[in-house]
């Protein structure tokens, strides 16, 4: 079920993303010009140490969150579920806090592993609660997730308050991309692996998205598919949380936007979801870089404003159209 404008969509999004990447490479606190990057070693150094890593981090983080959103929406058969509305991000945050408490000097990879484990456990809890409670309403499911997330978030805040880590935690949570430089973002490359695996397994997730009965009838190991999906989501969310903190709503509005345009062909949509997601996060970060220069507003805050509004519009306008 392709939309009427598939031919125009690809070149348009590619050009738009290219423009945003260029903007991200040349807008910021240090004055850089394309000619300067080529001719002036000082500018080239800042470009390679700061601007290129930051732009890559934005693209990878957007991929991580949007692909996580797509997978979770399939697994839960609900259009409004993504890491921040399922509590997954809050669990990852609890993992980060646990590491701050127990082993503050641990290397980033260890922190990511723990955050991913917490995210995995949290997502399993969410799925188990959904199954136990038996709720299917399109708005109720994310509400359950948000409530679970709020409980976990409250626990994290309580612990942070107890151990005098509130400010450190808020600095990390809304961390955003301003402090990303070479040497701090590299784990995000792993998101590419998650993307490839998701693309390969796309059809399984599509079938799983039709529900346990249908999936089992056509010969799919439903539980294994759910486990694979949860693992991919946990990895993406864990890594992203440690490196850049929370990015709300991105995994929700982008997959929905794309499937409104092109229907629900997961495999065909996946690249477009990643591209649109990267573009949107780049826009948010660019706004954050410009409006209070030389200071910055975290991309996650801008995303929260745009995404929150988008979420409400979708809930209100899609209620009758999205039956899942």
């Amino acid at each position: 079920m392709k939309s009427a404008l598939p031919a125009a969509v690809w070149p348009a999004t590619a050009v738009a993303l290219g423009g945003l990447v260029l903007a991200s490479l040349f807008v910021g606190g240090y004055d850089l010009t394309p000619w300067g990057v080529l001719s002036d070693p000082a500018q080239a150094e800042v470009w390679w140490i700061s601007r290129v890593p930051r732009t890559l981090a934005l693209i990878f983080a957007a991929m991580a969150m949007t692909i996580s959103g797509v997978i979770m929406q399939m697994i839960t058969q609900n259009k409004f579920v993504e890491p921040t509305t399922a509590g997954t991000s809050e669990w990852a945050g609890l993992g980060v806090l646990a590491m701050l408490l127990v082993a503050p000097d641990a290397p980033p990879l260890a922190k990511m592993a723990v955050a991913s484990l917490f995210a995995f456990a949290g997502t399993m809890v969410f799925l188990a609660v959904l199954r136990r409670v038996g709720v299917t309403g399109s708005v109720i499911v994310p509400l359950v997730g948000i409530m679970l997330g709020a409980v976990v978030g409250a626990l994290a805040t309580f612990l942070a308050g107890r151990f005098n880590l509130l400010q450190a935690m808020s600095a990390w949570r809304s961390g955003g991309f301003s402090s990303i430089v070479r040497g701090f973002y590299e784990p995000l490359w792993a998101v590419l692996g998650v993307a490839v695996i998701t693309w390969i397994a796309a059809d399984r997730f599509s079938v799983a998205g039709m529900g346990r009965e249908v999936a089992t009838n056509v010969g799919l190991d439903y539980n294994r598919t759910v486990l694979l999906g949860t693992t991919l989501v946990a990895l993406s969310t864990g890594i992203t949380s440690v490196v850049v903190g929370f990015i709300p709503f991105l995994g929700l509005i982008v997959p929905n936007l794309v499937s409104m345009l092109r229907g629900d062909d997961l495999r065909a949509n996946l690249p477009l979801v990643a591209i649109v997601g990267a573009g949107l996060l780049l826009v948010c970060d660019l706004i954050g870089r410009v409006v209070v220069a030389p200071m910055e507003i975290p991309a996650s805050v801008v995303m929260g404003v745009i995404g929150g509004a988008g979420f409400i519009v979708m809930v209100v306008s899609q209620r009758e159209r999205i039956s899942a």
Binding site: G28, G29, Y30, D31, A42, E45, V46, I49, S50, R51, R54, L100, P104, D105, A150, A154, T157, G161, N164, L165, Q167, A168, M169, A171, W172, G175, G176, S178, S179, V181, R182, G183, G288, R289, V292, P294, M295, E296, I297, P298
Partner: protein, 318 residues
């Protein structure tokens, strides 16, 4: 939601306070009615007893000054004490009143104080605490008087209250001398006021701007968007923006180290930053790390010590 919980907790505490008032008001006899003096505070003129015996100290900027005056409070927020006041923290006779996030108001009431030195982090409880004892709010107020004059006013008034006028004059003179000495060595150098929090370097101007009040130095990120309480003073800051500003000096408040978060110290974060290797402050090693106690007290002794540290560093750089 947390705020509601906190409000509820405060309401419960207040309720307990009043309950305690009714039952145990005469358990510990208050000291003999002493002379009172009227002093100027952040909440207007206030009549307070001279030489109060039972003092609750809440304002962290007053702690070291009280120690200097030989005052031992009956209750303090033990988690907010600097290392220099470990004697208070370890003293079982001194009651712990919790922190400003979760103050144990009933403990303050049970301490039966003659005077509460409040304000600063505990400013929101001033009204409630006033039902227990006079609340003396002398926390330095940047807007009203400037921070340094606020510190000196606080010291002078505390000196009068505790009969330590000569010690107060000495503390004020030490601050003036140290600030003047440091100021004489400054001539328009640029400075970045850095706050190290959660392993990141951010703009700390909101908290640290008072440091450069008496100095001929310019904050490279001085706020041009509203007053010192502008929310953007402590917003995120990209390392490349600092490299672009290329300040002569960096003053670093290591919050992580001050509250014992663990993690790597500010020095490691700054020295690991590739983008700053060619900046003036890095090549000339003009980075000044504030004493960890500074963040905890922000009192007159901490400021005096900072200006002495700065003067020594400026002389070394000259």
């Amino acid at each position: 939601m947390l705020r509601h919980l906190r409000a509820l907790a405060v309401a419960v505490c207040v309720g307990l306070t009043f309950a305690a008032c009714g039952s145990s008001g005469s358990a510990v006899p208050a000291s003999e009615p002493a002379d009172t003096i009227t002093v100027q505070t952040n909440t207007g003129e206030l009549s307070v007893p001279v030489n109060p015996q039972r003092v609750v100290a809440l304002d962290n900027t007053s702690f070291e000054t009280l120690l200097e005056f030989g005052v031992t409070p009956v209750a303090v927020p033990k988690q907010l004490l600097p290392d220099s006041l470990a004697a208070w923290a370890d003293d079982p006779e001194i009651i712990d009143v919790g922190t400003h996030r979760e103050p144990r108001l009933e403990e303050i009431n049970a301490a039966n104080p003659d005077l509460i030195i409040g304000g600063k982090r505990f400013a929101e409880y001033t009204q409630t605490l006033s039902s227990i004892a006079p609340v003396l709010d002398l926390a330095p107020n940047v807007e009203a008087t400037g921070y340094l004059d606020g510190l000196k006013h606080q010291t002078t008034v505390l000196g009068e209250v505790f009969g330590a006028q000569s010690a107060a004059e000495r503390l004020n003179a030490e601050l003036d001398d140290a600030a003047a000495e440091a100021s004489a060595l400054t001539n328009g150098q640029t400075v970045f006021l850095a706050n190290h929090n959660g392993g990141k370097i951010d703009n700390g101007a909101g908290r640290m701007a008072p440091l450069i009040e008496p100095l001929q130095m310019t904050d490279v990120f001085a706020s041009n968007r509203g007053g010192s309480d502008s929310v953007h003073n402590d917003s995120g800051l990209a390392p490349e923006t600092v490299a672009q500003a290329n300040p002569d000096w960096v003053f670093v408040l290591d919050r992580d180290a001050a509250v014992g978060n663990g993690g790597s110290p500010a020095r490691a974060t700054i020295e690991a930053q590739e983008l700053w290797r060619t900046t003036t402050f890095a090549t000339k090693a003009q980075v000044l790390y504030l004493d960890n106690g500074f963040y905890v007290t922000e009192g007159i002794s901490a400021y005096t010590a900072f200006y002495q540290q700065l003067a020594a560093a400026l002389r070394g750089a000259a």
